[in-house]
Amino acid sequence: MMVEPITRDNAGRTAMPHVAGRPSGAHVAVRGLSHVYRRSDGPVLSDIGFTAEPGEIVALLGRSGCGKSTLLHMVSGLSMPTAGEVVINGNAVRGPSPRWVMMFQAPSLYPWMTVAQNAALGLRFARRMHEARARIPEVLDLVDLGGFADRNAQELSGGQQQRVALARSLAPKPEVLLLDEPFSALDAFTRRNLQQDVRKIARGLGLTLLIVTHDVGEAVRMADRVLVLDAHPGRVASDTRITLTDADRNGGNDAFQREHTRLMQTYSDIAQVPGGNLT
């Protein structure tokens, strides 16, 4: 087994100088990852390779059906690739772990539990419930649901439920957060708020974030780096940096517009979609 040469300390400090303090995020390396569901369909993913530095926010942008969810499931260890490997901080991923947590499109909270109980699930499974008393109020505050601990999960709006899902993912202090189009079921306003907040939270904690999306705007607003995926089979076709300040990302000003247009151009060339009409 090859050991990842980049250690968390020097990679985190040199590659991401704008992260305050030592990043809690891990280095993620995806190597030669291919996947075949049915042999007759051919490979869904073909020889995907990329790395994410500790604390980096990377968007994986691609059309629906290009294999984004498949890829993220493999990074999270929920399923195993046909070939290749995922290495997090030098260790090959062999299964799910509270150190790398995935967030899905649907919050899927347990309706028989309170908000706090839902948020504490990761700690419970990791036999770390002793941390919950201090940690759960902390993460609920972080996602702006400070007063909601004892509410029933079903009483919350869609956006609030997704915030609980975020708190649930953050409670075990993961090093990598994997987001599979987690805001696409929300209305535009709620979505913007969550995009901003998730970036801010990930930044604050120094988390490594992989975001899967088909939305160019989301990629520009949230990511430090965007990998555009080709379809049939899925592979990394372009790797670009987004160098906007946080103010530019949220404002939708000229600088934002330029990045958006540039990425849209790349995306439509690769994904073969008519440019300009996508959000």
């Binding site: 929920l78 509270p98 899905f104 539990m113 419970r124």
Partner: protein, 271 residues
């Protein structure tokens, strides 16, 4: 729609509002007693049937009062409740795990489908001769018959509940590092608790019905025995009183399970 809404239903009986359910329940009980009384009168006036006149509400209820006062009600109910309780407990102990297995594993479901549906349709009482041969004690045979009656509703309700579980709940748990033990006790069982209780409620209904004929077997205690004994001694007032006791206990057991279902039900109708 608006025409219906305009009819001032609520105003017809002001102040009834919340008490309406109770008032109607009392009305229903009164109706039943009325019919019983009419039936008793008809039997008493019939030359062929007048020997059975103590089935009427008067003799029956006064005998019931005696049975309650002397504690005989407890003596005849406890053995029956023990048998039903044991039978149901065994049925749940087998039905819930097997239901979870066939709900989770498609192959098991397919293999067991025909045999289970076949066995389910056999009246539990058909097993009576086999039960009597297989068990040393009458109690054992009766508990077995109740188990046979009760296991199917529990098993099928559990399996159906499992198939309604949102697969995303399982994925979320796996993603957060749940082991199979967590999966079962933190996700699956709470998710299907209402289905299991509903199955137990159905099972209780069947078990309580099967209990009385099962207690016609050699035992010398229990409600079924009391019925048989009263018939043999032509004590029709006691027979009637025992019937009332069976109905009342059955009603309250069912009511208790209904309340448990309400308590465990996490589905919010307003959500």
């Amino acid at each position: 729609m608006s025409a219906v809404a305009d009819i001032p239903q609520g105003r017809a009986a002001p102040g009834l509002g919340r008490a309406r359910g109770l008032v109607n329940a009392v009305l229903g009980i009164g109706l039943l007693l009325g019919l019983w009384w009419i039936g008793g009168e008809m039997i008493a006036r019939n030359d062929d049937l007048f020997a059975f006149a103590s089935f009427a509400p008067g003799p029956t209820l006064s005998r019931l009062a005696e049975l309650v006062a002397s504690g005989a009600v407890i003596d005849m109910s406890v053995p029956s409740l023990y048998r039903v309780g044991m039978g149901l407990a065994l049925a749940a102990a087998i039905g819930v795990p097997v239901g979870i297995l066939i709900g989770r594993v498609a192959i098991l479901r397919e293999i067991t489908n025909v045999p289970f549906q076949f066995l389910r349709m056999i009246s539990p009482l058909s097993w009576m001769p086999i039960a009597v041969m297989a068990y040393d004690t009458w109690d054992g045979a009766i508990i077995f018959l109740i188990f046979v009656a009760a296991v199917w509703p529990i098993l099928f309700a559990t399996a159906a509940g499992l198939r309604r579980i949102d697969p995303a709940w399982l994925k979320v748990a796996r993603n957060l590092g749940a082991n199979p033990f967590h999966m079962l006790f933190v996700v699956i069982l709470p998710a299907i608790s209402v289905d299991i209780l509903t199955g137990i409620r159905l099972a209780l209904g069947v078990a309580w019905v099967v209990l009385v004929p099962a207690e016609y077997l050699g035992v010398t205690s229990g409600l079924g025995y009391a019925i048989n004994d009263a018939r043999d001694t032509l004590d029709y007032a006691s027979l009637g009183a025992t019937v009332v006791i069976i109905g009342v206990i059955g009603f309250f057991l069912d009511f208790a399970l209904m309340m448990a279902i309400k308590k465990f039900n996490w589905v919010r109708s307003d959500a």
